[in-house]
Symmetry: C2
């Protein structure tokens, strides 16, 4: 029997992963290629088709293509000025997929794709208003309003990581200072650890690490071991994040906030302080209405499932 | 000829104003009654019908009723725990109108109604993503996403006035500290003037006023006269507002922000510093995309037209 599938594609700075995904989120084929080998994005699309060719012909009917990419713009189907990719300027990648695969193709940024993935395959299947927050190297966010991604007038809404939370705060990669992602992200918690180590004499197993070798996992393990600096760092990170969430709740009034990504895997260490400071700073009318929950998606599949979910959602809308 | 109209109702703490409004925003009947005289909200609705009775019978066909009210909830058609009204608890006012007028009735809060008014009758007729900011005693906001008011999961989204912009800042009426409306509102600029007067010896015509007698108009006139304290107060107000707008742009990416209400009438005095600090703090991808514009609605008609616009918009959606 012919099975209906979509192609999900996750464009990363190093690797591009792709898979065929059915309506229940089952992955039937998965492969990856090195992104940087394709100086012309069209060749990357062709290579993906080549890899899939036999598989697609054999069993499946391709209903659509969904792509998650850094600096992806849903309205235009383009990647625009992505600093971590080798393609400069504006790349009409959705069109390239459409032409190559003769199937409706959609593209959005990673965080929005993750939000769609959570909505279609994850913990927010029955929630029409929620915010997906990805805590990785930076902080990404996908905001869902009434069952739809909030794209804004230009397709670039949902940059919670670049809300300024501290006047003259930490230098951000965006050129400004005090952005939320300089505090609430893996990079942010590392900086916090370094600052805490430098400003105190508290004993800490983290003093043994070079700054470049610190990671979210190492800080997490230290905190589990009872290390005071590591625990403080999680507390400070959760304080910045929780306060920022209280503010964004006053804007979009979501029913849930989903934490995802490297730092979210530290569980209670990050959830507890975040939840505490979020609730403490909430306007009264929102009290006890907003759940802070983990993602249901596996970290190694989320980007792919998100991209695939985008394709399923948009083709269903036709 | 029978003309199609809607009934627009603006519920205020002191007065309730109502009018018949046609599709072009023309007001054909207007009256007001003292809100506090009606301890049962049903009697206020009956009184409005009584006033309109002859007028409605004579010429018009009532297509719907739109109500703007403090703490109004669109989803439920209710006023919920409004501190400035005599009605306690939850009042199903839209239902009362529906039963009395036998016409579809809708209710939302003042700021959302103003946003709908701007969208239907004002400066944002062709803009699908914008934010309406009302700078009165407090700061209200109505956020429009893809042509629809952003209500959130519970109908209470869009409380920009209660985003916390300063840690341990000014005491807000909501019980928390540092909310935007304690800085960017008529109340906020008065407080700023008082703080500036207390912390300096700069000569100022505002020193002659009792605090209770200060008003937005008086501060505006002093600024026009060249008063340094008054001008500084506008600059500080615009700085808080502009920075907060830069942050909310990163959330909803609007094409325009409309300033409305008492303080917005001070023109360049408030627009210039707000625009300067908004643009200065914008993430690069939003630069030069967002217009800061005044409302096209007359201040004495805006609430009514907004309520009427809500009725036109919702009945058109049926």
């Amino acid at each position: 029997m012919v099975k209906q599938v979509v192609l999900g594609v996750d464009i990363g700075g190093t690797n591009t992963t792709f898979a065929l995904v059915d309506k229940e989120g089952r992955i039937s084929f998965k492969d990856n290629i090195p992104t940087r080998q394709y100086s012309d994005a069209r060749n990357l699309v062709r290579k993906i088709k080549e890899s899939l060719g036999a598989e697609l012909l054999a069993n499946d009917r391709l209903m659509g293509v969904g792509v998650g990419a850094p600096n992806g713009n849903f309205y235009n189907g383009t990647i625009e000025f992505a600093p971590n990719l080798q393609w400069t300027g504006i790349i009409p990648l959705a069109r390239y997929f459409q032409e190559e695969f003769k199937a409706p193709s959609y593209l959005t940024n990673d965080a929005n794709a993750a939000a769609v993935g959570e909505m279609i395959f994850g913990n927010t299947k029955n929630i029409k208003d929620f915010i997906m927050v990805t805590l990785g190297t930076g902080l990404g966010s996908g905001i869902v309003v009434n069952g739809q991604i909030l794209y804004g007038h230009d397709g670039f809404a949902g940059e919670l990581g670049h809300v300024i939370v501290k006047e003259n705060g930490r230098q951000c990669g965006c050129g400004r200072k005090g952005c939320l992602e300089t505090y609430a992200s893996v990079t942010g918690i590392k900086t916090t650890v370094v600052e805490l180590l430098e400003s105190s004499n508290i004993e800490s197993e983290l003093r043994g690490f070079k700054v470049v070798d610190l990671s979210g996992k190492i800080i997490e393990q230290a905190a589990v071991n009872g290390d005071e600096i590591a625990q403080k760092a999680f507390g400070i990170t959760g304080e910045y994040l929780g306060k920022a969430l209280a503010n964004i709740i006053a804007i979009t009034s979501p029913k849930a906030i989903v934490l995802f990504g490297g730092l979210a895997q530290s569980g209670d260490l990050i959830f507890k302080p975040t939840e505490y400071f979020m609730n403490k700073n909430l306007l009264k009318i929102y009290e006890k209405k907003v759940k802070l929950i983990p993602s249901a998606l596996k970290s190694n599949e989320a980007a792919l499932l998100g991209a695939a979910a985008l394709a399923w959602k948009e083709t269903a809308n036709k």
